[in-house]
């Protein structure tokens, strides 16, 4: 019960202090919206929107979660308020889970901005929303953990932003969001399969466009493996780098 009180209040504090602040709400809406609009303008046909929707959703989650978490944690570390959390009688895993959950929820909301927008133009009634939500949650969890991993390595907010982009932009082009993995140069293909976003996007591609490389169950399993691995790395790195 005591752990639950601490967990809930860390999450509540993050949501109130960071995610519900007007600049972040506008970032969460404007960023996916502008990407959607940009793609709509360059792809006037309805088929284009359907094909682009999984990519837009994945990208919105990726950018929303990694940006927020990497920046907020680096900010708290710099002001040393994060020490309070490290010194609280809660386990590192509870702390990691509480810190990423805010970003995960933010990412989930971001993911559905393009969906709401696309619903005005195309019929989405055939989409399996249950699997879509699972895919979005898994992408949000792995992206948030990736954001946390970046934050652990960064000392300054600008460093966190730079490290984030170092991972995010190559990922966008390697995970089949805009360029199908089949069309990637042979040398880059193995890298694609090392990225969690590849499997998340593949699930979304499967449920929205009907085209996927792997089966949904396999993709979910791989995403869970990535989530567990990243969770372990985050815990280990916090202990090694922050408890010196």
């Amino acid at each position: 019960m005591q752990t639950l009180i601490a967990f809930w209040n860390i999450l509540k504090k993050d949501i109130e202090n960071y995610y519900l602040k007007p600049p972040n709400i506008s970032w969460g809406i404007i960023f996916p919206l502008s990407w959607t609009l940009m793609q709509l303008i360059r792809s006037p046909g309805n088929i284009g929107i359907v094909e682009l929707l999984p990519g837009l959703m994945s990208m919105s989650v990726l950018f929303g979660t990694t940006s927020m978490l990497a920046v907020t944690i680096t900010f708290e570390r710099k002001g040393r308020s994060f020490d309070r959390l490290l010194l609280a009688p809660i386990s590192i895993s509870t702390l990691v889970f509480a810190k990423i959950l805010g970003a995960v929820l933010f990412g989930i909301v971001n993911a559905f901005v393009p969906v709401v927008f696309a619903a005005f133009f195309i019929n989405l009634s055939g989409v399996n929303w249950g699997i879509t939500v699972i895919a979005v949650i898994l992408i949000a969890i792995t992206s948030a953990l990736l954001g946390l991993l970046i934050a652990i390595s960064a000392k300054e907010v600008f460093e966190a932003q730079t490290f984030s982009n170092f991972f995010r932009f190559p990922m966008l082009f390697l995970c089949g969001l805009f360029v199908p993995i089949a069309k990637l140069p042979v040398i880059l293909k193995p890298i694609s399969f090392l990225l969690p976003l590849t499997y998340g996007t593949d699930i979304l591609n499967g449920v929205i466009t009907g085209n996927s490389i792997f089966g949904t169950i396999f993709n979910i399993f791989i995403m869970l493996v990535f989530a567990a691995l990243l969770f372990y790395l985050c815990q280990r790195n916090i202990k090694e780098k922050w408890i010196l």
Binding site: Q2, L4, A88, I90
Partner: protein, 321 residues
């Protein structure tokens, strides 16, 4: 065995030895001070004791719990006031306290009640609804201390509690620390303010270059630091001419005349006053006052650390900026 027992504690960063096999224990209800210049190893020691840093070697037992193996159990019974005010700028004072209480699993009603009580105790009730970033330095420090005791800890760790704040706030904080002592809290405090250690600590450890060079109560620390006892006599007239006679009469004593109407009797052993007073009286000299001159804690510090008080003062001024 004290409530806190530290044995051969060691911390090495690369080739730099920040803490060099120190040992000490703290009794329940005691205010134990760590006095030393910047970089002496005070914060490194406190960080290892609270779980923010891993020791390279040694043992830490806090209230019977191994703090290295089971730090999360220790963190339930300790309160930590860091050297920086690390509360949340955007949150108001009341919410900051409630949030800190929630980290210890305190239910909502209880933490709100406790937060209100502490705001009142620290004279911050009116500022309770203001964001932390709008507080003055002294107010920030007081709220940080309140946050450290919100869960009513048994043992309190204070790292440089009055550094960088105004004189009045520092005085209030020292009073608060003494109040906490009266409540039975065990307090571990690091400071580089000699007068602060002198005012609030029961025992003091002097730490320099990661090593404890002296440890003891204030009386023990200040007693006979130079290996000499000094008594200053205030007289009605000068005894310059009698210096030799006095030294010959009392062979174990040395006499110094700092000014016209006073003299210093210095001896390796305790000085028996009556024969001296009698001799002076026979010579028609009246003694108005006899005072034992004890070394200040600053004298002790300079003696045991070899660091000039002026250097410490410079650090103090730098920290206050």
């Amino acid at each position: 065995m004290g409530i806190v027992n530290v044995t051969n504690l060691k911390k090495v960063y690369g080739e730099f030895q920040a803490v060099n096999e120190i040992s000490f224990s703290i009794e329940q209800g005691e205010v134990f001070g760590f006095l030393g210049p910047n970089g002496a190893g005070k914060t490194s020691t406190i960080n290892m004791m609270i779980g923010l840093s891993k020791p390279t070697g040694g043992h830490i037992m806090i209230d019977g719990i191994d703090a290295i193996k089971d730090i999360k159990q220790v963190q339930k019974i300790i309160g930590i006031i860091p050297d920086e005010n690390n509360l949340y700028d955007e949150m108001n004072g009341f919410n900051n306290l409630c949030f800190c209480a929630s980290l210890y699993g305190i239910p909502k009603k209880e933490r709100e009640k406790r937060a209100m009580e502490l705001l009142e105790q620290f004279n911050l009730t009116k500022a309770g609804k203001r964001p932390f970033k709008a507080y003055s330095k002294g107010m920030k420090r007081k709220l940080t201390i309140a946050a450290g005791i919100i869960h009513n800890p048994k043992i309190l760790f204070l790292d440089e509690p009055t550094t960088g704040i105004d004189v009045e706030s520092a005085r209030q904080i020292r009073e608060l620390i003494l109040d906490l002592k009266k409540q039975g809290k065990t307090i571990f405090i690091t400071t580089h303010y000699i007068e602060e250690a002198e005012r609030i600590c029961d025992r003091i450890a002097f730490i320099v270059n990661g090593k404890i060079v002296k440890i003891g109560t204030l009386t023990e620390s200040m007693e006979n630091v130079e290996g000499e006892h000094k008594i200053k006599l205030q007289l009605n007239s000068s005894i310059k001419d009698m210096k030799e006679e006095l030294e010959n009469s009392f062979v174990n004593c040395r006499v110094e005349i700092p000014d016209e109407n006073s003299c210093l009797i210095i001896s390796k052993e305790r000085v028996a006053l009556f024969p001296i007073l009698q001799l002076l009286d026979n010579k028609g000299i009246s003694v108005y006052e006899a005072k034992a001159i004890k070394p200040s804690l600053e004298d002790v510090f300079v003696k045991v650390t070899g660091i000039e008080a002026s250097k410490l003062k410079k650090e103090k001024e730098k920290a206050g900026k």
